[in-house]
């Protein structure tokens, strides 16, 4: 039983790398289900585990593919007795194959292997007494006992810790290691010896051994590849995601944009999940007469436990002013991406782009796809040297009247004003009118006052100034925004 459970735990690990959330409690449930269902019927087990472990249609889909990959070992013949098979996961798979396609388990590769080995094939004409191989691996290969071979390979795999494989290029290394652990050296020596001896039976045997060895190598490579897909592929992706979250946004290359976008959506989804739940608990408002009367019946109709009609929470009004000149454009891009992914909980986002003149791009982002909208924004506003003073003046004349005490203004930019007039008094005006003014600056704090940077003048007119140059920073800023706003 414990072996079965070990197998299951391994499987759960694979599921987790494939982005299926499995809690320990669910693992325990799966074990109970496994004890009940057993390994006998593959389809039945798959259905059962799928119900216990995967809880959305998407998860079910990835579960299916994981299950197929994990519980398959189609190269070798069926393995009948699972009780004395040690504790490796893949032995049980043989059992499945027996149930699902008994005729097939020797087909495909297995068939090729059979002819490669030529061991005991009836069609082969032998006019001399064939020799028996001496080395352990040789014996095993020619005995045709695939079950043994399979165990040996899996054991070797475990010994060299093939499940630690991380990158694709390690495949050769692990293949080699497994072959070595299986006793390749003995076999090689024997082949060498036989060829040296030179007699006909010897050369025949040497040829057979070589064929068998080549075939084995192919199988081991396949095995390693499978392990790679099982253990490394997804974790590699996770690793990349973690990295991308921390890297400076301006250093991102175009080919990473897709990944980053995915991450942004993931982060946004998380925030939506957290905050859409929280919203409900903040209620105060109109008296709900009906509910109050009903609830106070227990107090003989004395109304002292008042019930309120849950009131719709005022979502924060966000105005987002983004510098889209060359150096900062990438940051703006992801900030906007983030804000628009949050449409569900932040429906009132207005966005503005500028390098010198300010323009509103809210509509553009709502109506067109993100990439197109971004490209268009860059084209329309991206040229020209940055002029924060002009931007502030434009903002005052167009939008200041819309700013009220519920508005949060986010300004993203490096505050490098090319030695122009910073006009920080306008920012002060905004500061007085708005609920909050947040300045996000992609540059490190130390350079905020160096050269033409005007942060020193702007910072006192902001409620909050933050360094913001990676996805993690962005996430933190947006999460804060929601926390205060909701």
């Amino acid at each position: 039983m414990t072996e079965m459970h070990d197998t299951l735990v391994n499987f759960v690990n694979v599921l987790r790398t494939a982005d299926i959330k499995v809690s320990p409690a669910e693992t325990l449930d799966a074990m109970a289900a496994l004890d009940l269902v057993g390994f006998k019927d593959r389809g039945f087990l798959k259905n059962s585990l799928s119900m216990v472990l995967s809880k959305t249609p998407e998860e079910k889909e990835s579960f299916d593919s994981c299950f197929e990959r994990f519980f398959t070992f189609d190269k070798f013949t069926a393995y009948n007795d699972e009780r004395d098979n040690g504790s490796d996961d893949h032995f049980d798979d043989g059992d499945f194959d027996q149930d699902s396609n008994p005729s097939n388990s020797q087909g495909g590769k297995g068939g090729g292997e059979g002819s490669g080995q030529g061991g005991g094939e009836p069609g082969e004409e032998i006019d001399f007494q064939p020799l028996d191989p001496e080395s352990e691996l040789g014996k095993l290969l020619l005995s045709g006992n695939r079950m043994e071979l399979m165990i040996k390979m899996a054991e070797a795999g475990r010994k060299v810790e093939v499940n630690q494989i991380v990158v694709f290029t390690q495949k050769g290394l692990y293949t080699r290691k497994i072959m070595d652990a299986m006793g390749l050296k003995g076999l090689q020596d024997e082949v060498g010896q036989l060829q040296e001896d030179g007699g006909r039976p010897q050369t025949h045997l040497a040829g057979r051994l070589k064929n068998a060895r080549d075939h084995l190598r192919e199988q081991v490579r396949d095995y390693v590849e499978k392990q790679f897909f099982l253990h490394a592929d997804e974790s590699g992706k996770q690793l990349r995601e973690e990295l991308l979250k921390k890297v400076k946004l301006s250093n991102l290359e175009k080919r990473n944009f897709k990944d980053v976008q995915e991450i942004v959506f993931k982060m946004a989804k998380k925030l939506v999940a957290i905050h859409s739940k929280r919203r409900k608990t903040f209620k105060r408002g109109q008296l709900d007469v009906r509910k109050t009367l009903r609830n106070n019946m227990q107090y003989d109709g004395m109304l002292f436990d008042l019930k309120w009609k849950s009131q719709k929470v005022d979502r924060p009004k966000v105005m987002c002013i983004c510098d889209v000149s060359g150096s900062v454009s990438n940051y703006s891009r992801f900030l906007l991406m983030f804000l628009y992914s949050l449409a569900e909980i932040l429906p009132k986002v207005r966005s503005f782009a500028f390098s010198s003149d300010l323009g509103e791009v809210t509509q553009l982002f709502q109506q067109t796809k993100l990439e197109d909208a971004m490209a268009k924004t860059m084209r329309d506003y991206g040229n020209g040297s940055t002029d924060y003073g002009q931007m502030l003046m434009d903002f005052r004349s167009h939008c200041l009247k819309d700013v009220d005490s519920k508005t949060t203004i986010i300004i993203l930019g490096d505050a490098r004003n090319n030695y122009g007039d910073p006009k920080s008094e306008i920012l002060r005006e905004m500061y007085d009118k708005a609920q909050r003014v947040i300045w996000l600056n992609p540059e490190p704090k130390s350079s905020w006052t160096v050269g033409d940077a005007e942060m020193k003048k702007y910072a006192p007119c902001c409620h909050q100034t933050e360094v913001c140059n990676s996805l993690t920073h962005l996430e933190r800023v947006v999460a804060n925004l929601l926390r205060v706003a909701v």
């Binding site: 959330k21 009940l36 039945f44 259905n47 799928s50 119900m51 227990q298």
Partner: protein
Amino acid sequence: MAIKNEHRLKDVETIKDNFETFDYICSMEIATAVFLAYHLEKPVLIEGPPGVGKTELAKTTADMLDLPCIRLQCYEGLDESKAIYEWKYGKQLLYTQVLKETLGDILDGAKGLTESVAKLHEFGDIFFSEDFLEPRPLLKALKAEESCVLLIDEVDKSDHEFESLLLEMLSDYQLSIPEIGTIKAIPDKKPLVFLTSNNTREISDALKRRCLHLYIPFPDADLETRIVKARVPDIPPRLNQQLVTFIQELREMDLKKVPAISETIDWARALILLHTESLEPELVRQTLNVILKFQEDVETVQAELQGVTNRAVKAS
């Protein structure tokens, strides 16, 4: 667990066969879910598009096991006084009025306030005992002596708070009532719980974790033919096949609401009433409103009606 007709849940095949005798044709997954739910004592959360027989599954299970089916229909604003229990306020008031006179006798001879109160204490909280408790569906299900099937329908329509309220019930089969204590299900007679959801909002992870998750998709053509056959026994096999092929193709189209199994069955019944032998475009046009519930869908389908009908007829 030991409940009535337990042998009907012996294994998956048996469950499937038994469901069929009750005209509920199910896939292996569904039978597996019921099997696991019973043997692991876990609730089942059923998701899937509307009209694929989620609620029906719970009802049929109750029929099959010959157990009562207690149903809790969820809606926004559902709270514990509707779902778990409520005190019978009226009865409490009435009793206090009636008992006023007796009070004098009880306190007879007591001197001073302290003594009186001490004397009253001897009677305990009679007004907050089970006699004054009005059990609502969840509590009823726990106290069912012969076990029962509890159907919590459309749990996605309820509030988040209510979901949390369910957790205790779902994981431990118990409910806590502050005035009385914890009420547990009778051992071996735990209710078989089904929750259904139409996925109008995401169910919380905490709830999902405590449940088996069953997703019922639209059935494939073969299964659907059998379902129609079971539900509408009079249907000629040829018409049945045409009808199912037609519906299956509709599901591929871009519609606002695709027809579900319940609509297929309704349509089959309608066609039988009209003494139909085989699908014809004109007839389909007239009865289209049985399977499509939006005018724009009807218009979309009408444009391609001829082709789809012909294909369906040819396929049989």
